[in-house]
């Protein structure tokens, strides 16, 4: 009997986690370069159920009466790397990627450690020294390291990621793609960090200057998810209440004259 109580508990906990993930999608529904996330539900490993104090099976063993799954957990969280819709801004350094690939960013954290990160958010700007940076000031990397432009000349960005000034190609954006997106971890700030075991490959993405790639969150899906999550939560709660009632009867009613 109590087994079911804990199964319902894992259900409640699981729906909470799904709610957390869904809310983050909604909170980021207007974040440039955000990719929506989801999670799968997975049952706990099956365990064999035995009769208690039973010796009827061969060798005086307890008899098996089948399998039992004691609840649910998150199988995996995954990210949809689908293309997000474009928003026209007409700013040269607002870059959107069409196709698979990521911008390469040199990220320095508060401790001063520098790592390479990847992002789909192309809302870049120039510093006074002419470096192409993200809005947080992290350097955007080109094929030859940091990209430095002449701030006084107009620039155009080609679809292949080349940056032209005064008719000369002055830099080339370094676009990176990965064989398996499962090896990408979220850092936050719409940055992704590859984990051990990743392999890169050439990106097939085209660069569109003057556009931003908005979040690929579909709010209708999220609202439907929200309904299904809250209702699933409610049903689990009802199961718990039912257990509570049965337990109450067992404790207080049984044996009463």
């Amino acid at each position: 009997m109590l087994k079911g109580l804990y199964t319902a508990y894992t259900g409640l906990r699981h729906e909470q986690h799904r709610m957390d993930i869904m809310t983050n999608n909604l909170a980021n529904s207007t974040t440039v370069g955000f990719k929506k996330e989801g999670s799968t539900s997975q049952s706990f490993d099956e365990i064999l159920a035995y009769r208690l104090k039973d010796t009827t099976d061969v060798g005086n063993l307890a008899k098996r009466i089948g399998y039992n799954t004691p609840g649910v957990k998150i199988g995996e969280t995954y990210t949809y790397y689908d293309q997000g819709p474009f928003q026209a801004t007409n700013n040269t350094y607002d870059l959107a990627l069409g196709g698979n690939g990521f911008f390469t960013i040199e990220f320095t954290n508060k401790a001063g450690e520098t790592t390479t990160m990847y992002t789909r958010a192309g809302d870049f700007t120039l510093t006074k020294d002419g470096y192409l940076v993200t809005k947080d000031g992290d350097y955007v990397l080109g094929t030859n390291g940091r990209i430095r432009l002449d701030t006084l000349a107009d620039a155009t960005v080609g679809k292949d990621g080349s940056i032209m000034q005064n008719g000369v190609t002055v830099a080339q954006l370094r676009l990176t793609d990965f064989e398996d997106y499962d090896y990408l971890e979220h850092y936050g700030e719409t940055y992704f960090v590859p984990v051990e075991g990743y392999t890169t490959k050439a990106a097939d993405a085209e660069v569109y200057s003057g556009y931003l790639e908005t979040a690929n969150v579909s709010v209708v899906t999220e609202m439907v998810n929200m309904i299904s999550i809250t209702r699933a939560y409610e049903s689990n709660q009802k199961i718990m209440q039912a257990y509570d009632e049965t337990l109450e009867q067992a404790a207080n009613q049984t044996g009463r004259l």
């Binding site: 980021n28 529904s29 120039l126 947080d136 990743y198 709010v219 609202m223 939560y233």
Partner: protein, 273 residues
């Protein structure tokens, strides 16, 4: 659960700031020299909620189950795109076509910069006239000096300004002659880094880089000055309205997520009767 509440709250806060920006843009739709501001968002840090995750067929995945913790306002930057030039009756109205800024001297004797060319001749000391903004801040010349005239020798309505800012006065034959000074125009390496003061005036910061004088710096592409025109704000009303719809709906949906989280907590609370 508390995570989803705070994530949704961060979403509501971010959208609130976004609406503040949109409202300010719309309020300034008729402000001369106003530059529209755009808000951009970034996701907050991610947290592991489960370290071991498996795919559908039971293989362990390289990355744990991560959940994001919401959103923040990453940047609010001004877009210095050219606004429309609008003809006016005023002889002391100027519109900059290009990347330049007018320099003005603030009340604290610091130099500030503006795109608002709605100027006027103001009475100064010793019977002089000074070219100032409508707030009374003196406009600076290419050498960084005030633009002053002896009051009784000139009829201000006859003063003309050429495209490069040179101030001229007609001679006996009605041919405009340079008066020896020009309205200064200055550019910045990174105008988005300028600090917004009040009255469409900007201050220099480390991020913007120092002001570059168009008259002395040959590398700069010189802007053109149009007399008798004012630069309207570059706010795109249709864009702002669409942003407003998106903002309001995003706000609403985040509030729904808070409600849903609240209901779930209530149900958890009701477990123990």
């Amino acid at each position: 659960m508390v995570r989803s509440l705070w994530s949704a709250a961060s979403g509501m806060n971010a959208q609130q700031v976004n609406l503040d920006t949109i409202a300010n843009n719309l309020a300034n739709v008729n402000t001369v020299g106003f530059k529209t501001t755009v808000n951009e968002f970034k996701s907050l840090l991610y947290q592991n909620i489960q370290t071991r995750t498996t795919s559908a067929n039971g293989d362990t995945k390289p990355v744990g189950a991560q959940v994001g913790l919401g959103v923040r306002n990453a940047s609010m930057i001004s877009i210095f795109k050219q606004g429309a030039a609008n003809a006016t009756e005023s002889d002391t109205a100027f519109c900059i076509e290009g990347e330049g800024f007018f320099a003005v001297r603030g009340n604290d004797a610091q130099t500030y910069y503006t795109r608002n060319g709605d100027f006027t001749w103001t009475l100064g000391n010793n019977n002089t006239l000074i070219l100032t903004t409508t707030e009374g801040l003196p406009v600076l010349s290419t050498t960084g000096a005030l633009i002053t005239l002896p009051r009784d020798q000139y009829v201000t309505s006859r003063i003309t300004v050429t495209a490069d800012g040179t101030v001229c006065y007609p001679d006996e034959n009605n041919v405009p002659q340079s008066m020896g000074f020009a309205i200064g125009l200055y550019q910045f390496n990174n105008p988005a880094g300028l600090n917004k003061e009040d009255s469409t005036i900007y201050g220099v910061t480390d991020a913007s880089g120092p002001a570059l004088n168009e008259a002395t710096n040959g590398a700069l592409q010189r802007s053109k000055l149009l007399q008798g025109y004012l630069e309207q704000s570059n706010v795109q009303v249709a864009d702002e309205m669409v942003s407003m719809i998106i903002t309001q709906r995003a706000y609403e949906m985040n509030s729904k997520a808070i409600q849903a989280s609240d209901e779930m907590m209530q149900q958890a609370n009701n477990l123990r009767r």
